[in-house]
Amino acid sequence: MAVNSFTTGPDDKGHFGIYGGRYVSETLMPLVKNVEKEYRTAMKDPSFLAELDELNRVFIGRPNPLYHAERLSDHLGGAKIYFKREELNHTGAHKINHAIGQVLLAKRMGKTRVIAETGAGQHGVATATVAARFGLECTVFMGAVDIERQKPNVFRMKLLGAEVQPVTSGSATLKDAMNEALRDWVTNVDDTFYIIGTVAGPHPYPMMVRDFQSIIGRETKQQILELEGRLPDTLVACVGGGSNALGLFYPFLDDRDVAAIAVEAAGHGVGTDQHAASIAGGKPGVLHGNRTYLLQDADGQITEAHSISAGLDYPGIGPEHVWLHEQERVSYVSATDDEALEAFQTCCRLEGIIPALESSHALAHILKIAPDLPKDHIIVMNMSGRGDKDIFTVADALGVEL
């Protein structure tokens, strides 16, 4: 079915087509519905919006620049490449955008404690940061495997006063951290707000996180018009759960001449059982509060994702992405661990920017497509995070001992 607009979703029960929804235990239902009610009220409250704007400016450091990656563009010899510099935000990634929004909502709802799940640690750091800023108690659930590969972020969260709760169940990565956060939430419904780190979970989270992240695309639109006098031809972003991709794409969805490409983590290859590409290798299912594409076996058991990038290492994807995929508005492609590593190094050397391994997946796709595009083809890539946190993983992958 053709749609008139790509920005009318979700419906009032949180569905994007058949995806999304609210698949949580009955204990959580009243709370989740209340989050939606409070969110809708807050977004119409000028004082809430003014506080959000001010914090975006003075605490996060927005707007961040749209930057012409000149040497990279020259090197590839094709398209003109811009980076949206989300990695320059306070805490070093786009995650702070939705953490600020959600913590303001938590405060408004009178909650005294926030919890979060984290993979790479970026969302955990962002949550710990806003919790410290507003004096809320904070517990971050993190898979034991991820704690091992993201030690700097673990220490940062602790410095910020958060308790980091290691999760050893299942594959001890992001999905298991989310299970544990849900278990905590259902046990502490009265005082706790769950700050979800991506455009997934029960309604209203996919919508709410998207809305808070859309500042990326709104700024980009204004900046590219100032710099180039026109909209870009192509947007590129990495996608795990999909918050940075949707944040960049959303304000452009009804500009149909602007192509949008989301890059999933192909791990060792989407043909292997070691990847995190839910669109390429998953099928519809229900997990963590929403219906979406999931990596699963024939019996509906969730399979373990793999990516060199902890932030993309999740066997699902936000429901709105699945809808945009089925509507063919956004193209979903993938990049392997090796391709991301290559792009990571290329960016360091040519642009003086150490990109997050997550963002390196987006860059890897640009390395593939840019050389064949004309020089007046404008690509905007979301540099969603900085890669300082990843240097140990990269050193390990390159066989370098630090």
Binding site: Y23, V24, P30, R183, T187, V189, V286, Q296, I302
Partner: protein, 274 residues
């Protein structure tokens, strides 16, 4: 009349509550699970909840989570869960069986195929913890058409408005989750439970069974005084965990030992005259 209905009616006539047990299908292996299941009626179980293993049981505590992982590691699947039920019926048991778990394995199996096969195997009801009333129609209607009840849950967070939503379309019984939390956690007081059951009953004529945090025969008895059923799960499932050797094989006599505990719980419930 369905098996669930007649069970509750017979118990009501006897003036006592239902003792509801929970075990996980395929835990720790298919044969042990079958022996345990087949032994539950004689040990005093009035209704059996059989857990459908899922990799990501985010509403369960560690005991039932580990049980699911053990079952999956030993090859559990939806087919084998239904085989357990079919073999239980073939063994001549009429005790109602309620499959309990998460939606994804049912969805992956195919809803129409699932309700058809579940009915054929002899399943009486379903509890799907991540399928609230707002989302359950796609399973509830086909299940009901195959004579299977979709059991709705009420919780301490359910206010009167919410209870109306919960009872509207409910059948079989209402499962009252006695504490806000995961399975196997804190326990509510019998007074709190009694008050909650009374409040639910103002909205429905369905029986109300209570679970979460009931671990001992004494607690089961106290709950049986104020509700139509008492559910014990994690305490039983933990005995399996504690009864495995270093390589995960059940120790000799484990099934008998668990059935002994079930019998003690059942005696507690059955001693509680209402």
């Amino acid at each position: 009349m369905s098996r669930l209905q007649s069970t509750f009616e017979n118990l009501r006539a006897e003036g006592r509550a239902a003792f509801v047990t929970f075990v996980t299908a395929g835990d720790p292996d298919q044969k042990t699970a079958q022996d345990l299941l087949n032994g539950l009626p004689a040990a005093g179980a009035d209704i059996i909840e059989l857990g459908m293993p899922f990799t990501d049981p985010s509403a369960d505590g560690p005991a039932i989570d580990k049980a699911a992982q053990r079952a999956l590691a030993s090859g559990a699947s939806m087919d084998r869960t239904l085989e357990l039920v079919a073999a239980f019926r073939k063994d001549g048991h009429e005790t109602p069986i309620v499959l309990m778990g998460y939606f994804n394995p049912i969805y992956a199996y195919g809803i129409d195929r699932f309700v058809t096969d579940a009915e054929a195997a002899g399943v009486d009801g379903l509890i799907v913890v991540d399928l609230p009333p707002e989302e359950d129609e796609e399973l509830r209607l086909p299940a009901n058409a195959h004579g299977i009840d979709l059991i709705r849950l009420a919780t301490p967070t359910s206010d009167d408005t919410r209870l109306e939503t919960i009872v509207n379309g409910a059948s079989g019984f209402i499962y009252y989750v006695a504490v806000a939390g995961v399975t196997g956690g804190k326990s509510a007081t019998a007074d709190d439970i009694g008050a909650a059951v009374k409040r639910i009953k103002a909205h429905t004529d369905l029986p109300v069974a209570v679970g979460f945090g009931i671990k001992t025969p004494e607690q089961a008895k106290a709950v049986a005084h104020v509700a139509d059923g008492a559910v014990v799960g994690s305490a039983i499932v933990s005995m399996i965990e504690n009864g495995l050797d270093a390589i995960g094989k059940p120790e000799a006599g484990l099934v008998k030992k668990i059935l002994g505990f079930v019998n003690a719980l059942a005696s507690g419930v059955h001693a509680a005259q209402k």
